[in-house]
């Protein structure tokens, strides 16, 4: 089972630039538009059974889920600076961002 949350509020994190859907059948709750993007952890939301396993009736270990905040500008290259998007992301999709706190 999942232990303590790896990332704390304010941590800079990068979403893995991974595309499992290109390798075969899968169920992913990480939207395409944040893959490879860097954001800031708002807070851990608790641990939940990994939906990527649940969807295929496999044993689903609990994984820490985070609210992660992203600037809209770098994602879409449009919009008003300072507008943001906040997304629920599971811990195994996150890695420390280089130079991040």
């Amino acid at each position: 089972m999942s232990g303590a949350a790896r990332f704390t509020p304010g941590a800079r994190v990068r979403v893995r630039d991974d595309w499992p859907e290109r390798r075969g059948p899968c169920h992913i709750r990480t939207p395409h538009y944040i893959r490879g993007r860097t954001g800031t952890v708002v807070r851990p939301l608790g641990a939940f059974a990994n939906p990527e396993d649940l969807a295929f009736a496999r044993p689903a270990p609990a994984r820490t889920l985070y609210h992660v905040l992203f600037e809209q500008g770098p994602i879409w290259h449009e919009g008003r600076p300072g507008d943001t998007v906040m997304v629920e992301v599971f811990e195994h999709w996150l890695e420390p961002a280089e130079g991040g706190a």
């Binding site: 905040l69 507008d83 998007v85 997304v87």
Partner: protein, 194 residues
């Protein structure tokens, strides 16, 4: 209107429910209770929670820290429902809720989602050009307000706590609740006094 269920579908449903009961996973009574709760849920529940938060600081604190507990405090059964998070709008931040992956929606406190919430157009556009979407709903936000899109992608469900509008001083909870619309509870609108 939906077509009536086919007899073979009903027979399959009966066998499934019997198997679930036999395995001790769920009882027919629990299914009926959940169905009743789902049908009973409506945006009026969320509106009552907002109105109470506007008038009761202790309840507001509970709502923002644990939305499910705040719903239970209003008599809503949250058993089996996903956790509920509440997003506080402020003079400098406006939240807009969308589920880009499917149609996750805080059904326990808002009922069934409207058709537009599930549409490809809303799901694609709300996350990419939220200000344009809001403008089409008639909501123009000044540049001093950050628009924070909340993409409901996983195990939580999200509801917006809008700001109490000016001109509602002295209103009681019921009157306040009457101006909190379904649309305001996901952030495509804001409550107005008149």
């Amino acid at each position: 209107m939906a077509a009536p269920p086919r007899p073979e579908s009903l027979a399959l449903l009966d066998r499934l429910v019997a198997a679930l009961e036999a395995k001790g996973i769920v009882t027919e009574a629990e299914i009926a209770e959940r169905q009743a709760n789902t049908d009973k849920a409506s945006p009026e529940t969320g509106a009552r929670m907002v109105a109470r938060a506007w008038t009761d600081p202790a309840y507001r604190a509970l709502l923002l820290s644990d939305g499910a507990a705040a719903a239970e405090a209003m008599g809503v059964s949250m058993a089996g429902a996903p956790p509920l998070g509440v997003l506080e709008n402020t003079p400098t931040r406006h939240h807009l809720v969308v589920c880009t992956l499917c149609s996750c929606y805080p059904r326990a406190v808002l009922g069934y989602p409207p058709g537009w919430y599930k549409s490809f157009a809303y799901r694609a556009r709300a996350v990419r050009e939220p200000r344009a979407v809001l403008a089409e709903w008639g909501l123009m936000l000044p540049d001093s307000v950050e628009v924070r899109v909340v993409d409901s992608t996983a195990d939580y469900r999200w509801m917006v706590l809008p700001m109490r509008p000016a001109g509602t001083e002295g209103w009681d909870e019921a009157r306040l609740a009457s101006i909190v619309t379904r649309d305001a509870l996901v952030g495509v609108a804001v409550p107005k006094a008149g």
